[in-house]
């Protein structure tokens, strides 16, 4: 920052002191909302949290989208892809006339560039985890790692072979072919994630490391203001070629406002949308002024107590089952003012592989006591129950579970820790015996839940997503067979059988599938909640007074 910009920044509060500026002077077409924390990056390759995902949709687009019924539909693709008989090759035709915000027309090469870019260490993308099944992804990724090690930081040449990612090719300007190593019926869902969204090479190279602050996509809006930690402004993208023009002139996102402050601002009319905090849900739902504005959505997420199968006393399945019988899920829902619905299994409703007829563990403290007695714990035991700070209502859930567990003799001492410490400790082997955990879908498929949370073959010393360190050869076998199955019914059956075995072994005590509650001002129209995107800003418009 030079002297002039510093003086300008110094003058900003002074300018704000002038009467009549800013506050309360929203234009009719501006939607205003607030977030607690700022976005780390607006580069689709670096996106991994839910709030950034929503902003990605404003700025960018992908080959495929998912509609209200969670069905895949073409987005930047002109139609659904041609799929080879062996389910290894997908051929897409790119929609013509689509332009980036810089005016340049979108081509199939832009997808190739975007996907190859994910594997460059300099991109710092987490998307490689999802795209390992692309043909040639492993040698291509290793080659880029070697380049990075030999050439250091900054701009690098591709010297190590292979220089191109074999499984992603542009056949011509409008035709893209993607090939896989192994068949994967969930693969098309991965194309809805931001990691494959096309980015213009010229803008990425022009901005370098700060492309994350200068997004340029094909979406309905473009970023025209980003005061770090203060606000983001999105104006209409004049180059946008979609089915309909967005109804909003502008979106303003205020940063640094906690949920309590957001609620007060919303009720004073200073915000247009609100993510309702659970403590305010009952009050707002009963208020005749606000109740028509409340929308709810069952999240594709499962919250559960994770029991480390490698640590005493949870090495014994009877102890784990006792925990599952001891916790009253209905009471959790009541106590948290409707944080969700009681869960019967790990795979939530709406996700491929969910078994609607599943009857999970009921509330049966008597049976829990008997199981503990059989396991050699007639007087119960004491254990620390870890939970992170970042989910406000998890503390309440843990308190209810603590009370229920106490009734059968399990003395759970609650231990709240910072999110970063929690994530690291629970993912490290033989470190945390008992923890509150939750998993939200990356894409609506059972593989994202069972494969991620319960595949024993993926157990690692550190950074293990199987936080229960649960390892059952039969389950692993079923999960591996399901991952490559090409028949949908057979695949669903394999996942159902795997989930049966998992729930019987009870490495997790499933609690609830959470719900999301949001509301809008009466002047905001077209507001519905989408299971994957939550808010689709391009569908909103404001009723002028």
């Amino acid at each position: 920052m030079d002297r002039r910009s510093f003086l300008a920044a110094l003058a900003a509060p002074a300018a704000a002191l002038l009467p009549g500026c800013g506050h309360g002077a929203q234009s009719a077409g501006t939607l205003r909302l607030a977030y607690e924390t700022d976005f780390k990056s607006l580069d689709p390759a670096q996106c991994f949290d839910a709030s950034t995902l929503q902003v990605m949709r404003i700025l960018y687009g992908g080959l495929l989208d998912c509609d209200d019924d969670l069905k895949l539909v073409p987005w930047l693709a002109a139609e659904m892809p041609e799929v080879s008989a062996d389910r290894l090759s997908y051929t897409f035709t790119i929609r013509q006339g689509v332009r980036f915000a810089n005016g340049r027309e979108l081509t199939a090469d832009d997808f190739v560039y975007a996907i190859e870019r994910i594997f460059e260490p300099a991109t710092k993308s987490v998307g490689t985890t999802f795209l390992r099944n692309l043909r040639g992804a492993e040698p291509f990724g290793e080659a880029r790692q070697r380049d990075a090690e030999e050439q250091g930081t900054g701009r690098r040449e591709r010297l190590a072979e292979p220089r191109r990612l074999e499984g992603v090719r542009a056949l011509d300007r409008c035709t893209l072919r993607i090939e896989l190593e192994k068949p994967d019926l969930a693969f098309l869902w991965l194309l809805t994630l931001p990691y494959t969204y096309p980015v213009p090479r010229e803008e990425v190279e022009r901005h370098g490391e700060v492309f994350s602050r200068n997004p340029c996509g094909t979406g309905p809006f473009l970023l025209d203001e980003w005061q770090r930690g203060q606000r983001l402004g999105f104006g209409r993208n004049p180059m946008f070629q979609g089915p309909a023009r967005p109804g909003l002139d502008r979106i303003e996102m205020l940063i640094g406002y906690d949920l309590m402050t957001q609620t007060m601002m919303f009720e004073r009319g200073e915000l247009d949308l609100l993510n309702i905090p659970l403590p305010d849900l009952v009050r707002l739902s009963r208020d005749p002024r606000w109740s028509p504005q409340v929308r709810s959505l069952l999240l594709q997420e499962t919250d559960f107590l994770s029991m480390n199968c490698e640590m005493e006393p949870f090495t014994d399945p009877r102890v784990r089952q006792a925990v599952s019988y001891a916790v009253n899920r209905e009471r959790i829902v009541q106590f948290t003012s409707g944080a969700g619905i009681p869960a019967q299994g790990l795979v939530p409703p709406g996700v491929f592989g969910h078994d609607p007829g599943r009857k999970g563990y009921g509330y049966d403290p008597g049976r829990a006591k008997r199981l503990l007695q059989e396991a050699g714990y007639p007087d119960g035991f004491a254990v620390e129950l870890w939970y992170p700070t970042d989910v406000p209502h998890w503390g309440q859930i843990c308190q209810v579970a603590q009370q229920d567990l106490k009734k059968v003799g399990i003395r759970a001492n609650l231990k709240q820790v910072a999110e970063s410490i929690f994530n690291e400790a629970t993912a490290r082997r033989r470190t945390v015996a008992f923890s509150m955990y939750g998993w939200t879908e990356d894409y609506p498929d059972a593989s994202d839940f069972l494969g991620t949370l319960c595949d024993g073959s993926k157990i690692a010393e550190e950074e293990c997503t199987n936080a229960s360190f649960y390892n059952n050869e039969d389950v692993n076998e079923l999960l591996h067979r399901a991952a490559v199955a090409t028949d949908e019914a057979a695949r669903a059956d394999l996942y159902r059988r795997a989930e049966d075995l998992i729930l019987e072994d009870a490495p997790v005590c499933v609690l609830i599938h959470p719900k999301e509650y949001r509301m809008c001002q009466p002047r905001v129209k077209g507001f519905t909640l989408h299971p994957m995107w939550f808010v689709r800003y391009e569908n909103l418009w404001l009723e002028r007074a």
Binding site: P19, A122, Y257
Partner: protein, 306 residues
Amino acid sequence: MIVRLLRRLLWAALTLLGTSLIVFLIAHAVPADPIKAFAGPHADKATQEALRRELHLDDPLATQYLRFLGNALRGDLGRSNVTREPVIEAILARFPATLALSLGGLLIWLVVSIPLGVLTAKHRDKPIDRVTLVLATVTVSVPTFWLGRMLQFELAYRLGWFPVAGLFSWTSLILPSVTLGIVGVGYYARLVHSNMLDVLNQDYIRAARARGLSEPVVLFKHGLRNACLPVLTVLGMDMAGLLGGVVFTESVFALPGLGALSLQAVLNLDVPMIMGTVLFAALLVVTANLVVDCVYRLVDPRIKGA
């Protein structure tokens, strides 16, 4: 005088050095990996290692600290591990809001507490003195975040007199400044009060009254000037407390200042940003102390030659 100033500056530099070392060690003692906090739950090992190399977090701690120190001496506090923006730019962009809030709070401290202290000293053991004593005890005991939230709830949310949060107009600064100010008012009012009681018993005050000077002149010209000297000393030391209050106040009222920036840096385990904000705050406190020291010498002729 110059030697004394140089000695002060040397102590200030040592204070900053010590602060930077302590903060650096604390930031690295936290049992969590900043790379994982940045890259998210899906980042694989190779990506994490690439990031670690890129950000030089694989270097020994001593190397990292010395590199930070060397760059800091050249005015470069590095780049945020999370946003990659230069730390100094982020700090300077947020400083105006913090400065405006601190000055607002300080103004209320002084403008309210000094007349109140003088008034209660003049009317010792009268109802106004007793009421002020109770209020002072309450305001000193009230946590900043609670007071801020209550003022926000009653005056902004329920009555609508002020904006709830954010920095949109001059009215946005009133509630945060009052929050910050109230906490100091009670303490400083009692400080001025007790100093004034001492001063008012001095011979020169009796002499001033005997010369027929009006009571305001006696109180404010002859009394207050002497009573304020200890206040000035405490004020210098309280700068750190003021900045601490700013962190909570900015957080409650969503003001885009240094407090919010440092809080976010801590949550993200963004070590360069943590180091930068703490060092900058330490610099402010050290500078304020130096200024108070100089002003003290100007105001009190007795210590000029000391």
